[in-house]
Symmetry: C2
Subunit: 323 residues, 2 copies
């Protein structure tokens, strides 16, 4: 239910000097259904990295999820090209029919979200998602569903609705059920499955680990924390097993960090775990987080009413350069 | 006992692209004995800001301390000139003979530390301190003591030894006691008092507030926390009153953040306060903190084993630009 991509934004509304690089930046956070063969993940990352102006900021592989999350950044033209090239490599290298992992998925390139960074509008990211998605459908023959802000159907604003039943469920329904027809590409699934292409604001993907073998505890806590069950707004959460003995996880996506900051969600999981008499183990950040999330968590730890980017040397210098 | 300046360093050993600006950066963190007349503080800040290539990153005034901490950054030549110009304005605008604040001080421009940032060595900062200090002594007629890494006498490596007895004590002894003779400038104090000019690594200045009117509690906790009384290494701390009713403060300088991170010291104050049955109120950062301090505090709040700059979008982008 969570989508394991995470690419937070630079503060909106703050201008950056053009001299620093391209005036408008966006991020792309592909989630590919391969978390066990590093050489395949590396090949996918290299496909993106080969495009001039692209930076691969992070590659996060999870063996239990059998999934990797890449974070790439660049200007519009570079990101479009990089996203298509990595889609090409991922859909040719990963066979979703053999894929067994604990994380929900519908395809080799499972989700491909574009996230606005400094100077880029959401509208621009939606355009990028539609162009890249149609190219993936046309040139690679992969069915594409547009989700989040790029959704063409209201129900697909929620990724969970695109991914309902996962690859296996989609395989059974894509050809017959008109509500499962893709937005672009063929109405049939090949070895690469389907891809959800979206545009969205930054989110943070974060796993809290619990010292218990009982995944039902993680599921119960996930339900208490997530917004869809009446928990914290802007929090998606599922309980998952891990391959580590005696450890399960609450796997979260935080989609509205202004409303529910990460440290608040983590604290809520801790409180729930304590109610169940379960100890919290080390947590895990998937991909990156925005500076505002880091600052808010640090402020909480230090008892500060707030902590601004202007109060951290490196971030203040960055602003000074931009001014 | 604490010196209220704070200017942490960018990670050493990490190169920054020359295209970003001057290849070597240093910070200067003047502490001036004026925290109540904003127009005077503003005039001092403008004296520095008027130098090409200088950025005034922060100005923090404290009325109770009757003191302001400025954080300015630039290349060597610019910082030297800015430091001298603000020394000129501060020593002409502030009369230390009338100064009454809770923070220890010996002069109008009380301390003037230089801190290495990216690409700058401590040796270079020591040279800057000596050049600027001698110019202040020669051209402004203010006695100067070199401290920390710029100290010419071993006992003055500790600022507390320079500032012993404060302005009033120094006034009585500077002319007669050879151990109190300045390193540069006249052996007598004018209305501007004396100035301690130093070079040092980054430090963080941080105040934890306690909900009690009893400053003795703050002093006891400060003693439990600070290294000189057997507490945490790299922590200087004093208990001080504040003008807020029912609030006192533990005022800390953290001088070795690798050994004792800020959040560890704050937690220790919390534990001690709880032992005394005293509640902790909001804390206060004086000046700036380095990103590593922020990251460590955020990691603690989130239960992460660690959190690197590569995992925070804005800091990762900064690195990508530098690569």
């Amino acid at each position: 239910m969570t989508d394991r991509d995470s690419q937070p934004d630079v503060e909106h509304g703050r201008s950056r000097a053009p001299a620093r690089g391209p005036a408008t930046l966006l991020a792309c956070v592909p989630n590919v259904s391969e978390g066990r063969r590093p050489e395949i993940v590396e090949r996918i990352a290299q496909a993106a990295d080969g495009v001039t102006g692209i930076r691969v900021l992070d590659v996060h592989s999870d063996s239990d999820h059998h999934r990797s999350v890449l974070t790439i950044v660049g200007n519009r033209v570079a990101v479009e090209e990089a996203a298509f090239r990595l889609a090409d490599v991922a859909t040719r290298s990963i066979d979703i029919r053999d894929h067994r992992g604990v994380h929900p998925r519908i395809g080799a390139l499972d989700v491909l979200p574009f996230v606005p960074l400094a100077g880029t509008s959401m509208e621009s990211c939606v355009d990028v998602a539609h162009r890249v998605g149609r190219r993936i459908a046309d040139e690679l023959g992969v069915p594409v569903y547009f989700y989040a802000d790029a959704a063409l159907r209201p129900e697909f604003r929620l990724l969970v609705n695109v991914r309902r039943g996962e690859y296996e469920g989609l395989l059974a329904s894509i050809g017959r059920d008109p509500t499962r027809a893709p937005d672009a590409g063929p109405r049939l699934l090949g070895p690469a499955g389907a891809t959800a292409v979206g545009a969205r604001r930054a989110l943070v993907a974060f796993n809290v680990h619990l010292r218990t073998s009982d995944v039902a505890v993680a599921t119960t806590i996930a339900r208490a924390v997530r917004s869809s069950s009446g928990g914290l707004p802007g929090v998606q959460a599922i309980g998952l097993p891990t391959s580590r003995s005696g450890i399960v996880q609450v796997s979260m996506n935080l989609t509205d960090l202004d409303v529910t900051p990460l440290h608040v969600a983590v604290e809520r999981v801790r409180v729930e775990a304590s109610r169940h008499g379960v100890e919290v183990a080390e947590s895990e950040l998937v991909g990156l987080m925005p500076a505002t999330t880091t600052l808010a968590a640090a402020a909480a730890a230090l008892g500060l009413p707030s902590l601004g980017a202007r109060q951290v040397v490196e971030l203040a210098l960055e602003r000074a350069h931009d001014a």
